[in-house]
């Protein structure tokens, strides 16, 4: 069996499941946040700050941040291995793909660290 070294779980089946599990978390968070915006259209700074100082919201946001990072990595990995191939790019394909994946990994790492800092740092 050939296993890839760049995908998240080293197994397509594991990635498939993580992609769907994280999708449900991301969708739930999006609906919750949109719902609170619609319920409080004139939200001011103090209400906004209080929302993100409550532990349930911080924990939900942190879990969503993890889900976002996993979901984005699996998605970008899938796109890069589907389109940045030798068939389309020739010999340079592996280099181009690894550069693209490196860029995505850096962006995912920035989002993760930045997000944690916003949620728990203030």
């Amino acid at each position: 069996m050939v296993t890839s070294v760049t995908n998240l779980g080293r197994s397509g089946l594991y990635d498939w499941l993580v992609q769907r599990f994280s999708a449900v978390i991301l969708a739930s968070y999006t609906f919750c946040l949109l719902g609170s915006f619609i319920a409080h259209p004139e939200m001011d700074y103090l209400q906004w700050k209080a929302l993100y100082e409550s532990n349930p919201m911080r924990i939900f946001s942190l879990i969503t941040l993890f889900a976002l990072c996993a979901h984005a990595w699996i998605g970008m990995w899938t796109i890069s291995t589907d389109y940045l191939t030798a068939m389309l790019l020739g010999n340079r394909a592996t280099l181009v793909r690894l550069l693209f994946q490196s860029g995505c990994a850096i962006l995912v790492a920035i989002y993760l660290i930045w997000g944690i800092q916003i949620l728990w740092g203030n």
Partner: protein
């Protein structure tokens, strides 16, 4: 292994059915959302820093060009969300027939147009 099967990789000679267009747009919107998260995190960070920062976010979002950027990110997110929900339903075996897939694709477009319009009303 030598593969002598004929290949047709000239995509211009192929016409994609509607569910395939929905699927490729799901991927493209995913890339947009991935990049858009940088903007969202920036605004999120600023809004929680101080009362002045919160006001600055409202000020930024009061100009037309940034309204359009916010709407574009929101619309990409909504498209990705709706097409993703369709994907999850199809994983459960719902709408996997030929007519079902076509209906699901049309429903995705319909719901997206409504959601994008509502997002536009909300932003402007």
């Amino acid at each position: 292994m030598k593969d002598n099967r004929p290949k047709n990789i000239d995509f211009s000679t192929l016409s994609l059915p509607l569910p395939a267009i929905i699927s490729i747009l799901h991927r493209i919107s995913g890339i947009f959302v991935f990049l858009g998260v940088a903007v969202l995190l920036y605004l999120f960070d600023l809004s929680l820093q101080s009362e002045a920062g919160f006001g600055q976010v409202l000020e930024i979002l009061s100009h037309s060009p940034s309204k359009f950027v916010a709407w574009a990110i929101l619309a990409s997110l909504l498209y990705h969300l709706i097409a993703g929900l369709k994907h999850l339903l199809m994983d459960m075996g719902i709408g996997e027939t030929m007519q079902g897939a076509l209906f699901g694709a049309k429903l995705t477009i319909g719901l997206f147009i409504i959601a994008a319009a509502l997002a536009g009303v909300w932003v402007w």
